[in-house]
């Protein structure tokens, strides 16, 4: 029931997102024909041919309904620029991005867990929280540029760019993971602090539990709750992050496709990216809700 309702709202969010983006792009300056022509030759003949080819002479409403109809059937249209089905364009770029995002997420989460749990003594805590502050305050591309400059250009430890082999994944994944780790560590630490303030922790201590056990068996689980609900945010950050990270490290992926599509007003691709990101958000948030249910029995009531 909960799942069904979630899927329902999810679909609504998707539809709203797709429609909003569609309307927004409709409002963009320059016609669709302009964006298809790009900086190429431009004569009335060429224009009329383009209009014919893409059926741009139909009323906007018809085009919109057609777009929705096809999107509902999994057909996201054809890229104006690349002349290929959008599904192929995104499909081909999905894996490199996903790979990067997954590795970065795992790295970031692992780092955050380790830091939040191990840096409980005053001085280590201070060092760690300062580092977190710096990480969350630094533009990700600066982190990337510095890592690139030091580890690739100066030391030559990692390949400069591209998507070949595990070594090429290290720097971008670290760049993407560091700010995430910064935020998550703060959230986890705060959650642990809060949990340690709760009376049940004193009860646990009064039973003779070791401090380590109090942390692992009681506090950490409570700290996970706020962290898990950040899953949606995490997905957004990763997706937004790859746009910049892929540019910095010259990696292929959705970020590059998005950027190219936005600058050249490749409307079908832009729309697809919008729908995809809304989709990812819906999926991740549903997952987060379910995870919260698993962790916190109090939520299972209704």
């Amino acid at each position: 029931m909960i799942v069904l309702r979630r899927i329902g709202t999810g679909l609504v969010v998707l539809w709203v997102a797709a429609t909003a983006a569609y309307l927004a792009l409709l409002a963009a300056p320059g016609s669709t024909v302009d964006s298809i022509i790009g900086d190429g030759a431009d004569t009335p003949l060429i224009r009329s041919q383009i209009v014919q080819e893409w059926h741009l002479d139909r009323p906007a409403v018809v085009q919109y309904v057609d777009y929705l109809w096809r999107a509902a059937h999994g057909d996201l249209g054809r890229s104006y620029l690349l002349q290929r089905p959008v599904r192929d364009v995104l499909g081909a770029q999905l894996w490199p991005t996903l790979k990067l995002a997954l590795v970065a997420a795992v790295l970031g989460i692992a780092l955050a867990l380790v830091l939040a749990v191990t840096t409980r003594r005053p001085w280590s805590r201070r060092v760690s929280s300062t580092a977190e502050l710096v990480l969350v305050s630094t533009p990700p591309f600066l982190i990337g540029l510095v890592l690139l400059s030091v580890f690739s250009f100066q030391l030559g430890l990692f390949p400069v760019s591209g998507d070949r082999g595990a070594a090429a994944l290290v720097l971008p994944a670290v760049t993407l993971a560091l700010p995430i780790a910064g935020v998550l560590t703060q959230v986890l630490r705060d959650g642990i602090d809060r949990a340690l303030d709760e009376p049940f922790v004193i009860t646990a201590r009064a039973r003779g539990l070791r401090e380590r056990a109090v942390l692992a068996r009681h506090a950490l689980r409570h700290a996970l709750l706020p962290a898990v609900s950040l899953l949606g945010w995490l997905g957004g950050t990763l997706l937004g992050g790859v746009v910049i990270i892929e540019t910095v490290f010259g990696r292929p992926g959705l970020g590059q496709v998005t950027l190219q599509a936005v600058t050249s007003e490749d409307m079908p691709v832009v729309l697809a990216v919008v729908v995809f990101s809304a989709f990812a958000y819906v999926v991740l948030n549903t997952a987060a809700d379910l995870a919260c249910l698993v962790i916190d029995p109090r939520l299972r009531r209704s």
């Binding site: 969010v13 305050s137 591309f141 992050g241 936005v262 990101s277």
Partner: protein, 279 residues
């Protein structure tokens, strides 16, 4: 009364030292924004004979690809970057407070619709949302302001909405009903001021986020137009020379980072103060 237990006490007292340093830095930044000419020379003066020179006493931050002094550009860039971030945050705060309060006070369905649209809006990564907006309006400072404003708006709207719920049900609003106050008066006298409470503090931290977002978008070439010395744009231009002249991109980035850190430190300090007062 409940007790605060077994958390190392050392952490509780606010870090005044850090706060003071950060606040001092921000004051300096403010001065730089108001009278950049006092601190640095012409950010546009190109010198083709001294291109991509390393930092020295003549050029503290080195020179860029056109022989412009990077320090001068960073100083003047503060005005551009901070103006964009401030304008965007103001936009987000004003719109967010209005919409959030509207949702918090509205009837169930209107509230639900508004809340869902905040959700839908925050379903998109800031960068993507801004890119979408820029795809429509074209790059430029104004686009950046509106894009970041729209993208960060749900943040404030949600806080205000939640706060409105709390305030709406608070005892003192009930009490005010007991004195036969009209709805409008209730909203203006009790709800609005109490809802606004946490907003300035979030806005200070949000300002840092706006700076980061603006820098990110400028980095992607969607921001201010050359030759204006915006930090993100400088980073982006300098990136081409990363292997030969890292200072051109790294130093503006460091200044941007320091500003964001300072804002966060000051914001968190204020937050603790406010929470301490309320709780």
């Amino acid at each position: 009364m409940t007790l605060v237990l077994d958390r190392p006490l050392v952490l509780r007292p606010p870090r005044y030292a850090g706060f003071l340093v950060a606040a001092g830095f921000l004051v300096l930044m403010l001065a730089v924004v108001l009278v950049p000419g006092l601190f640095a020379g012409d950010p546009l003066a190109a010198d083709p004979m001294h291109v991509l020179e390393a930092p020295s006493t003549a050029h503290w931050f080195g020179t860029d690809q056109l022989g412009r002094d990077v320090f001068d550009r960073v100083v003047h860039g503060a005005r551009h970057s901070l103006a964009i971030a401030t304008a965007a945050t103001l936009l987000a705060v004003v719109a967010g407070v209005l919409l959030g309060m509207l949702a918090g006070l509205a009837h169930k369905y209107a509230d639900e619709a508004l809340a869902r649209s905040f959700d839908a809006l925050s379903a998109f990564p800031l960068i993507l949302l801004a890119l979408l907006f820029i795809a429509i309006a074209g790059p430029g400072a104004l686009s950046l302001v509106v894009a970041i404003g729209i993208a960060t708006l749900p943040h404030y709207a949600r806080v205000v909405r939640a706060q409105t719920f709390v305030v709406r049900q608070a005892g003192y609003v009930t009490q005010a009903v007991a004195f036969g106050r009209s709805r409008l008066r209730l909203v203006l006298r009790h709800v609005l001021p109490n809802v606004l409470g946490p907003v300035p503090v979030i806005a200070v931290i949000g300002l840092g986020e706006a700076i980061l977002a603006a820098a990110g978008l400028s980095f992607l070439g969607m921001g201010t137009q050359p030759p204006s010395p915006e930090w993100g744009a400088m980073l982006s231009e300098g990136r081409n020379y990363l292997s030969v002249a890292p200072w051109v991109s790294v130093l503006p980035g460091v200044v941007a980072t320091l500003t964001v850190i300072a804002l966060t430190v000051v914001g968190r300090h204020l937050q603790r103060r406010v929470e301490g007062r309320l709780g």
